[in-house]
Symmetry: C2
Subunit: 419 residues, 2 copies
Amino acid sequence: MPLNISWVESANTPDTDFPLNNLPYGAFVSDAGEPHCGVAIGDMILDVTALEADGVLAVPEEEEVFFFGDWSEFMTLGPEIWTGFRDALTELLSEAYADPQGLTGYMVPQVGTQMLMPFTVSEFTDFYASKNHASNVGTMFRGPENALPPNWLSMPIGYNGRASSVVVSGTDVRRPWGQLKSPDAELPVFAPCKRFDIELEMGAIVGQPSEGPVTVAEADDMIFGYVLLNDWSARDIQAWEYQPLGPFQSKATATTISPWIVPKAALEEFRVDTPNRERPLLEHLTEPGPMLYDIALEVGMAPEGKSETVIARTNYREMYYSSAQQLAHHSTSGCPMRVGDLLGSGTISGPEKDQRGALLEITWGGKEPITLDTGETRSFIEDGDTLTLRGAAIGDGYRVGFGACVGTVLPALDDPYKR
Amino acid sequence: MPLNISWVESANTPDTDFPLNNLPYGAFVSDAGEPHCGVAIGDMILDVTALEADGVLAVPEEEEVFFFGDWSEFMTLGPEIWTGFRDALTELLSEAYADPQGLTGYMVPQVGTQMLMPFTVSEFTDFYASKNHASNVGTMFRGPENALPPNWLSMPIGYNGRASSVVVSGTDVRRPWGQLKSPDAELPVFAPCKRFDIELEMGAIVGQPSEGPVTVAEADDMIFGYVLLNDWSARDIQAWEYQPLGPFQSKATATTISPWIVPKAALEEFRVDTPNRERPLLEHLTEPGPMLYDIALEVGMAPEGKSETVIARTNYREMYYSSAQQLAHHSTSGCPMRVGDLLGSGTISGPEKDQRGALLEITWGGKEPITLDTGETRSFIEDGDTLTLRGAAIGDGYRVGFGACVGTVLPALDDPYKR
């Protein structure tokens, strides 16, 4: 598919994340200070809430779908509406549109506009589905013989995370306190986390509900779109707490998502297969077609006031399980899935050291610190560091991107109980 | 505190769960088929939504608090409103009230009335905080040397569950399918669960939000009330999936709560201390006073069409950690807590075999089946079995109860993917 030309000229440059082929969904603070729904095009945001209010572009037979500045209501309307609305947006923004001047009043520059959570997270589930990541972490936590748990090749291992802690890109993240126990200590202490980390992930957003188990094909149909996702992780809290029931407070400080939800439709042409199965999957988890996407990903790290170093480059196609498989597995027990459920892919790591999606892996548990371009070294995140995830599917002369997924780590409070 | 006498005579009998001292909150289907908020008194329900609509009893300066038949909006108003409203209800229903005839039109019999979820569950967290239970399960899963994980005496171990699967008492529960791997098999199969179980728990409902870490005293102030909670568990699915990230689909089929939320205020006089600490707790988890409650609990099991056998009797005071401690721990990382968060205590087991809150423990993993009064034996739940939790704090001549927390297990679907 070639670049689709828009009358918004900044959308036609090869380096924008937001050509007409993309049209991702976000939420922003309007001039009047209200949350509005918007669509990114080049370096602008098209104000969808204002378009609906003025009757320029509305979902047929629906009112106030975008009134609250949240895409959840739109998601509930289902795939036919998603397609129809995207087609209408494409027409409005295409080069051939007759009245571009009529739309300029609905355009807001991205620069200087505050972004908001684009949807209401119902529940957040995080998976562990990149084989390189699972093998690396397993080796560190349990030794090379037990690196991959016995169930790993049979199901996408996941755990329920905390929806209340999901925040949009640009939100500062406060270093947490927690129980830490060093290997040589007999008892834990309550202290600020010393091993604060990122996890480079993709997030799939469930846009349609289910009651009973769904097939992988049905699960794929339920997915509305994808975001970049950084699951901030307190590795020292995690090591002490995670047995036997899994990570809990180590993952509950914050999870940052990109400001833009890329619709599944914009990613269709970038579909790729999951890798060959090392153990045949049970039938209910087999895929009817390619369910991963070729999305180039990178992580940048910038100490306070200094320039950024890219510390990892990988690709979403490195996953062993797709989001559709994860959603199918999630439903096997009859677990009701709801509009707004967010499924983190799990940390995405390639086979090489500089393709790993977490500092835990890059620095091998802190034993092999990295040196940034500024000359500083890092084992884990230090106060003031800004971490940025970027991702895009690369087309012929254009890219379908997510915008930056950014967070700066603030120092821990001196006394977290002081009011 | 003596029995508080009501003009509703059925509330003054010693065997009702709902004397005037209780006044628990529920939701029910009105004659017009709408969800209404109600308060249990004796064998009746006082229709709070209708009282508000008619201006007989309203929260001062608020409108439509009960309009949607859900107590979540009331919870957001905070402890002062909770107290004021409870006082007003107590006055309306007390023996001294001047116009009882005026209220009879707002009374609905409990018998024959369909109950609904009394609040919107924001997120569900389940803990593992009874020492007898953790020791029993740990012994079965990991051997007696590793029964209690090293962290267990330092923090209330918990994991995030699935809010979408929480249902109200009376909802049938469909036996799930899942991945099962028998110890002697090399690979798993996808099949109906063979080891379906209950977990006898109490649930604490968070009624006020928090942003940063909260103390145990602050956590206690945030709790709105308590329910009985049955966390249905698929033990065979759990055994295969739970390493390394904890239970997932094994706990996602359903969690049943009692129809009535007993306000914290109704339980005040039944407060008891947690047991002596076997390892001193870190300061942020120490309790400023008694945070458990003396609540007698029991589990009944009835095969289809047969009478019930009580298979376990225990008490909420058997917990090692209180809900206030669990909530405080939950907030340590800065995890935002929200109105409507539901915290399961974890299975409550006493030291004796007939005091255990799960069949897994009662039958020791199925190796020691129990015999019911009907002569049948059970290792785990069979299709058609009805499981009922009951609980009450026992006062002098009255009981403060929760109503029955009931679920009947339906057979697994022949083909869960057939539509």
